[in-house]
């Protein structure tokens, strides 16, 4: 899957860097550790900007291309920061046949961004996600951890309004 590189500048803190170094030290000698390190790095930064990938490559003494290769391969790794409220629409089969595509259209028009983008104020980001397993509630979307199920497009505006201020 092709991934968009971020357009927002990197502003990592010293604390985050220390946390990352601890993670690397802990896993460095385990076989096949790169994925686990990147998963934890994403936990620390919220996404994997190129600066973090460079840091991991240097500390593990492996080429950046290898780190980038893994980071760009798996859909869990995001190279773009998420908004304060990450809106994800499930486009799994069950939700899809129950009209999840219409929810996405509605969100795109309300938030003024496309699937995979973030609003200028970094408040909302919008993504499509694979099946989250709540097929009985189809169609569903999540805002951060909160799940909204059995939706119709006319319910979208109300949900977004709850997070606006």
């Amino acid at each position: 899957m092709k991934k968009k590189l971020t357009t927002v500048s990197f502003n990592g803190t010293k604390e985050q860097e220390i946390a990352l170094d601890n993670v690397i030290a802990e896993h460095k000698d385990q076989p096949g550790a790169l994925m686990a390190i990147l998963q934890k790095a994403q936990g620390i930064y919220g996404y994997l900007p190129i600066e973090v990938q460079q840091h991991v490559a240097l500390a593990m003494d492996i080429p950046l291309s290898e780190v980038y290769g893994v980071a760009s391969f798996y859909s869990q790794f995001i190279l773009n920061p998420k908004g304060d409220y990450a809106v994800s629409v499930c486009l799994g089969t069950a939700c899809y046949v129950k009209g999840a595509g219409l929810l996405m259209d509605k969100l795109e028009s309300i938030l003024g961004i496309k699937n995979g983008e973030i609003t200028a104020d970094r408040k909302f980001s919008l993504d499509a996600t694979r099946c989250i397993g709540a097929c009985g509630l189809a169609p569903v979307l999540t805002v951060n951890e909160e799940v909204y199920g059995r939706l119709t497009p006319d319910m979208i505006a109300g949900i977004i309004a709850k997070y606006k201020d």
Binding site: M1, P31, G32, A33, L34, M35, A36, L38, Q39, G69, V70, F73, Y74, S75, Q76, F77, G92, T93, A94, Y96, V97, K98, L102, D105, K106, S109, R130, C131, I132, G133, A134, C135, G136, L137, A138, V140, V147, G149, T152, P153, D154
Partner: protein, 635 residues
Amino acid sequence: MITNKEDLIKIRDAYAGKIAFRQHGTEKVSDGKVEKHVLICGGTGCTSSKSVQIKEKMEALIKEAGIEEKVQVVLTGCFGLCALGPIVIVYPEGTFYSRIELDNVEEIVKEHLVNGNPVKKYLYSETVKGDEILSLNDTAFYKKQKRVALRNCGVIDPHCINEYIGTNGYLALAKVVTEMTPDEVIKEILDSGIRGRGGGGFPTGRKWQFAAAQPKGQKYVVCNGDEGDPGAFMDRSILEGDPHALIEAMAIAGYAIGANEGYVYVRAEYPIAVNRLQNAIDDARKEGLLGKNIFGTDFEFDMQIRLGAGAFVCGEETALLTSIEGNRGEPRPRPPFPAVKGLWGKPTIINNVETYANIPQIILKGAAWFNSMGTEKSKGTKVFALGGKITNTGLVEIPMGTTLREVVEEIGGGIPNGKKFKAAQTGGPSGGCIPASKYDVEIDYDNLIAQGSMMGSGGLIVMDEDTCMVDLAKFFLEFTVDESCGKCAPCRIGTVRLLEILNKITEGNGEMEDLDKLEELANYIKSASLCGLGQTAPNPVLSTLANFRDEYIAHIVDKKCPAGVCKNLFTYKIDLDKCMGCGLCAKQCPADAISRTDYVAEGHKLASMQIDATKCVKCGACLPSCKKFQAIYKG
């Protein structure tokens, strides 16, 4: 610490009564002080509709009422009937509360748990027959099921190792390491006839045999928990509801092939499953059921979890191994098969979660018992995730050989809103569609393949007449295009070309010769791709072409989408004589495409509305506003 079989049996006997209390069809006995067990579903579906908060509130209210000695509240794994979640079951009666909300809890505690009167209005309607209240086991959804892999889901507390032991848990492992040779274990698995539940259906015993035959040394047992088929969630349910069954089975596999290390590869998108499995592994270690000297023998086995990161191709076994090794999850050519050269080049067996969940039962009850269920070449049961246009969405476990009609109409409760069954899709993006004319097909590995579909991991998506089959094929193709790892050209490039042709057809620009092109290209991709993902990627196209060719032709020749899904091939219209002129639809329209005409239908007061096709964006927002008069239609 459990150091021998007697220790285990002592715990089992202490907990068996508690489990029997909650088990289907058993005598209604009470284990001393506790008079009621309240089971609340803690699966992902119900958790997302607040079942954990319901449990907390219920416990607080029970304490307040001073009955905490008499009532035990348990957060279990998935009951299967996700459409009715969150689900609360009260034993000994087996009373079945559905779609419970936080506000209902107080009344249930007061009326049912304190006063002993079930609150009828919150019960699942099918269980209320006048004055009589049925138990969940009497409902159509549960009656026809046969639960082997899911036997503990929705019965035990997945966080409590002793409750698992109470169901004869770890007894199979004890039997294997103290009474059986590795060859005897493999023979039992071979004789049972169990085939891999993850998709391919390869005989599990044969896999084990190959790995066991490799020279002694480092070997690995791997569990494939990278359940990526959209719509399938049986593996997640087992991990969430019965994690110890997996641990026990992997240890048995380790003993059989001579491996002492196991890896469970689980999707990171399954946080509840990962958490419960990790918890279970820690508890098993504490009890000495993992680690050195298991049951006092010199057999040792330990395991760890590796998190997947959302790549469908990692469900393919060689790609999964590359991913555990920390790389891009790209498949490797086979042979050598993993049983010869797998993880880090060592002999490795890979089985799916559901396959493992069957193993302890086969060891305890014997190959002949397992063999007695199912069809000639497909033994045992299979779990299906019912989804799409079906009343009872959820998880069901049925004996192989049950017909599709029984699954959809009886267990699944049929198609909602009076619509007709059109097709069922099995096997996810690797599978195909079974049309209504094959409604009575007996579900097993070989019959599904004969229908141009496959078992896959067990997703079963039901479609009604509103589903466009060309659009459906396109949907699955988009998925595989997205998930193709890019290593081999037939899959990387071929699937994109297939999708382009499908797009052309759904946009109304198709030509009849496109159908031949689709078939030709699909067959190339099938025969030339490196791994299972590519080899099966064209199946949704081929099977819809075979069974619904007339729909493709309608798109191409008549430029119509019969199901009214493909936006370029239909328009919304208003029946002027049905329209009451209320104007609600115009308020819904985001494109200002609806306006009033001069025409007043006979007997109506207001002039009818009309849709300007040039402005209409076909969002469908107007449709629900006219539910009452049904004047808006697709044409």
